[in-house]
Amino acid sequence: MAHKEQELLGAYVMGALGSGERIALEAHLGDCQECQAALADYEQVAEGLLHLATSVAPASGLRATLNARLAGRPGNLRSLRRPGLGRAPQVVFAALAVTLLVLNGALILETRRLAERGQELLAQQEASQTALALASYSTSQTAFVQEEKIWGTFVYEENFPVAVFNVWGLPPLPDDKAYQLWLFNPDGTRTTGALFRTTAAQELISILIRSPVPLGEVLGFGVTVEPETGSPAPTGPRIIGAEFEHSP
């Protein structure tokens, strides 16, 4: 007899479960091969659903528009590393390296300032320490984000599954809401990187981000406002976010 959890798999592959159900299901899936096999079936169904829409030719100008936009872009400079393929040569563009040095210096100062203020809880310390650790890698990268009065930096290293998001100016939320940070996967799905809140007193908050995969496999991130316990997939508007990309 199939496990009861399998009843949820259909909704799960469509991203329709509430977070409580999703977390419980994922915990079960981690240990249960039978349900994993059923999940694989449901994933194929979900993939199949993508293929059912009737073809519609886009306006003929789109091809030319895209071609023109591509001409202005140097293609994909980013070298994504996958686990198991070994490390790519540690070649960093000189300009980028200089930027990172300056930036890492600023980051260390900022992190120290944070620690000195002594106002932060353990989570903040953990984030600060991770930021410091990341700053010591010359291959660490930073994505800058700005949205009106909110701005921040997302610091990561492609081979690590942890990162730090420093953000200024995120407004405090009502008690039943929280900020949820999403990591964008190449297959279009979103993974929760962190769930957090801010208080009026905090101008700056550093969030430790945990990713199931090295950040090099993540395409970007976004922050949305969600119910305080989080959502299985983004439901609120995106407050701030960025795609991870090398500047040419």
Binding site: V13, A38, L49, H51, L52, T54, A57, A59, N76
Partner: protein, 191 residues
């Protein structure tokens, strides 16, 4: 479409990852109508759909390196990106979910014929029949979840029905689709 001497999709993707625009345009010519079809189906608005289609192909260009041929086909990867972009677009526009009627997806099978191998075509076709065969309320719940990104709770609110009813509809509907997929002869032969 094999045997025509054209490079296969995985090869084209490698070339795109190297910045080869001709390879990109080959993939565009092959799949633009499929991508746009999904955008239109989801957004039901030509303007937004075109933007999503454009974004999806820009992602193809910038993300070609992240494509892993072992994990599936280029088209599925591209359509998954398109779905995600369309769902983002919904949220950005704070759109209300679509009207309650659902187009019967079994009516038009022509769109499946192009550009896909016969194997895939038959799998999608049987899935499409299975979807069309579902009781309307099950199909609607699945469409709201999959094509419009609503959670079970949101579907319940939208349809003004109890959450438990939504869960049942999604479960029964998806179980039937899974079964239809499993008895597909080609699919069965792979097991």
């Amino acid at each position: 479409m094999s045997g025509t001497g054209l490079p296969d999709d995985a090869t084209l993707m490698q070339q795109v990852a190297q910045g080869d625009r001709r390879a990109f345009l080959s993939l565009y010519d092959k799949y633009a109508a499929r991508v746009h079809g999904l955008s239109v189906r989801m957004l039901q608005d030509g303007m937004s759909a075109e933007e999503v289609t454009q974004d999806a192909f820009l992602r193809l260009w910038t993300r070609a390196r992240t494509f892993n041929a072992d994990r599936g086909q280029v088209l599925s990867w591209l359509l998954a990106i398109t779905r995600r972009l369309a769902l983002d677009r919904f949220r950005l526009d704070s759109r209300v979910p679509p009207p309650l009627e659902t187009e019967n997806p079994g009516l038009d099978l022509d769109g499946l014929a192009d550009e896909s191998s016969r194997t895939d075509e038959s799998r999608w076709r049987s899935l499409r029949f299975a979807l069309a065969d579902l009781p309307a309320e099950q199909r609607l719940s699945i469409e709201l979840a999959f094509y419009h990104g609503l959670s079970q709770r949101e579907i319940a609110e939208h349809l003004k029905i109890p959450l438990g009813t939504v869960k049942t509809r999604l479960r029964l509907g998806m179980q039937k689709l899974r079964r239809a997929w499993a008895i597909d002869p080609i699919q069965a032969g792979r097991r």
